[in-house]
């Protein structure tokens, strides 16, 4: 195998494809996604529901692709190895150890009949074969670090005794137990209230600064992206349509979909009329050549039905729209 990936990149994903055989037909959920993640970088993957952002994350961890009707192809390079090719046993060693994940709903990712401290420590029992008592002690320290007051007592509580924000903190604590190099956060604050969301976003930023952990943040909220991310990739219909640093993307959005997304969200204090994106996001059952956004695009041209690939328009700013590419 040729080894050409950049040493700086902790994770490099190339031409990731995910397909499902469903009762409604063949579904091509992720259609050739490429991105890389550096140490200590926060990359935001933004898009509407059904654009394939969560499937992308799940397939990296081997949570998709194991069943008969699921197919994952492409490469994901992590420390010189393609983790997508690894057998399940090997992937298991990575999950929760080197690559950890936080899910949206903090209640369903905790076991309701296990005390919080035990659950948080469990990761160490599995990956580092630690004794129950030692794992619990470390769990308490970690719970303290993520801001759970009187952690020693709270470790004896069950998940239902925790509030939503506290549960998410506990999950973050358990994801950090093995000092992962990559943290995948799938809509980590969507189920929380805004004042609690602000606290959790602060916590994630702190973690990056202290542990230099790389974070892949999946969200539909552009506000959250702006607040936290260094780099942003906008997904539409299973493809990345635009990728740039957060500063660049928000000051010079290029793809018509990115622009549309920004114009259709109400922002406090802004009075202008919202401009909705007409139509509906496509269902991913059919394969259509060219730009998937063309049907809803105000700048549609005949050549949009031809191939689209990401073009570098400005340094580090990639966009898949040929129309923009032509002007730029």
């Amino acid at each position: 195998m040729k080894e050409e990936n950049n040493i700086e990149n902790l994770l490099e994903v190339r031409n990731l494809q995910v397909e499902f055989a469903t009762r409604q037909g063949h579904m091509h959920a992720v259609r050739g996604v490429n991105f890389s993640l550096k140490k200590g970088e926060i990359l935001g993957l933004v898009g509407e529901s059904g654009c394939g952002k969560s499937v992308t994350a799940n397939s990296l961890l081997g949570l998709v692709g194991k069943k008969k009707h699921e197919k994952v192809t492409g490469e994901a390079w992590f420390h010189g190895e393609n983790i997508l090719d690894k057998p399940e046993k090997e992937q298991q060693k990575l999950r929760g150890n080197k690559i950890a994940m936080i899910f949206q709903d903090p209640m369903t990712s905790l076991n309701p009949v296990l005390k919080v401290g035990r659950q948080v420590g469990e990761v160490l029992e599995i990956h580092q074969k630690k004794k129950k008592q030692d794992a619990l002690e470390e769990a308490i320290i970690q719970l303290q670090k993520v801001g759970i007051p009187s952690a020693k007592e709270r470790a004896e509580d069950y998940p239902f005794q925790f509030s939503g924000g506290m549960r998410q903190r506990a999950i973050i604590a358990s994801s950090l137990m093995c000092q992962p190099e990559i943290l995948i956060a799938d809509e980590p604050t969507t189920a929380l209230d805004v004042t609690i969301q602000a606290q959790i976003l602060d916590l994630l930023r702190e973690l990056r600064d202290t542990y230099k952990v790389a974070i892949l943040l999946i969200t539909h909220d552009l506000g959250v992206v702006a607040e936290l991310c260094d780099t942003v990739a906008v997904m539409y219909a299973g493809e990345i349509v635009e990728k740039a640093s957060a500063g660049e993307l928000f000051s010079h959005p290029l793809h018509p979909y990115t622009k549309g997304l920004m114009a259709c969200v109400p922002v406090l204090g802004r009075k202008e009329k919202l401009i909705p994106i007409p139509g509906q996001p496509p269902k991913l059952y059919e394969e259509k050549a060219g730009c998937q956004f063309a049907d809803r695009c105000p700048k549609r041209r005949p050549e949009c039905s031809r191939d689209t690939s990401l073009l570098e328009i400005a340094p580090g700013h990639y966009v898949s729209c040929k129309e923009v590419g032509r002007i730029g």
Partner: protein, 330 residues
């Protein structure tokens, strides 16, 4: 401009009896809505905003009398709805309609769109000759194609379904519409379509609307006035521009500052609220916000602050709002 008050809510409260945590046989009272007093003028949209569990949805349901209030009254054009018998209430139901969060759960999946839209007309005894004309007009207004009538709810996308539920709500020309999180279940690109539709309809028909949401930005976008709720009480109520430009209550200030804005780096400098919302069963004495409030002290525990008019039309329930630092620091 003469202002006609259409809905008057005074001292509205709702307490739910729940089992005690320590002694399950002992009933405890969950104070969901406490002492809410509001007026709604004809043709205005009033936004109600707050975090989960603050009582905003309960308030909407109380006004609809889907649940019975513990205390207080709701007066619609001189008629006290809280005292009506269920028979009389039925007649008044056409005057206030509701739009729900989940547009799929709001329909019977086995009814065609035609049947769904005819049902309220039949229930309220509208002559059959008018049905077709009324329904066609509503479909045009809400942007649903006419061939939708023969189809069933599952054939539509979330945004289309919400349009249909809006069409159903305004079909009877209600005097008040209560929209409870009407866009929260929709994708962002679709939310804008529905928000614009509600805003346009409101302007066109001079509809009176209560818009309930946790999203301050969308509340501000559609509303003339906004009321902020915290733990069952209204803590601030103001014209929507004033609320954003000069929030007076420390909770409103914190809420505004917590909202992520699409400007990179803007969030890092801001103040954060510490702690979490106390339980509505064991409410703290005095101001319920005082433990999380950066300006809370002993004096705040004394009594529940009342809504007072700080500026014309701008009411705030905080005894400290006058100290200059509260206004400027956040």
């Amino acid at each position: 401009m003469d202002r006609e008050i259409i809905l008057e809510i005074s001292g509205l409260s709702k307490e739910f009896a729940v089992k005690g945590r320590m002694f399950p046989y002992k009933k405890e009272m969950l104070k969901a809505v406490q002492d809410v007093t509001l007026t709604l003028e004809k043709g205005e949209t009033l936004g109600i905003v707050g975090e989960s569990g603050c009582g905003k949805s309960t308030l909407g349901r109380l006004i609809m009398r889907l649940i019975e209030p513990t205390r207080g009254s709701v007066v619609l054009e001189g008629e006290n709805l809280t005292e009506l018998s269920s028979q009389k209430l039925r007649k008044h139901r056409k005057d206030f309609q509701m739009i729900f969060q989940d547009p799929y759960a709001a329909f019977d999946p086995r009814m065609s769109i035609k049947a769904i839209l005819e049902e309220p007309l039949r229930t309220h005894g509208i002559p059959k000759e008018q049905w077709e004309e009324r329904i066609t007009r509503m479909l045009e207004m809400t942007g649903i194609p006419l061939d939708a009538l023969k189809r069933y709810p599952h054939e539509f996308s979330g945004g289309q379904r919400q349009r249909i539920s809006i069409a159903r709500a305004i079909l009877l020309n209600p005097k008040v519409i209560i929209a409870d999180e009407p866009v929260s279940a929709l994708d962002v690109s679709i939310q804008a379509q529905i928000l614009n539709l509600l805003k346009d309809l409101q302007e066109k028909f001079q509809m009176t609307m209560l818009f309930i949401s946790h999203n301050l930005a969308s509340v501000q976008y559609v509303s003339h006035r906004v009321a902020v709720m915290y733990l069952g009480r209204i803590v601030e109520i103001a014209p929507s521009d004033a609320l954003y430009e000069r929030p007076l209550h420390p909770y409103t200030q914190a809420l505004i500052s917590a909202i992520p804005v699409p400007v990179p780096g803007a969030g890092i400098q801001r103040k954060r609220l510490t702690g979490e919302v106390p339980s509505p069963i064991h409410l703290p004495r005095g101001c319920a916000f005082r433990m999380r409030c950066p300006y809370g002290d002993e004096a705040c525990a004394g009594k529940v602050p009342e809504l007072t008019e700080a500026e014309p039309g701008h009411y705030v329930a905080c005894d400290k709002y006058k100290s200059a630092e509260v206004i400027h620091e956040i």
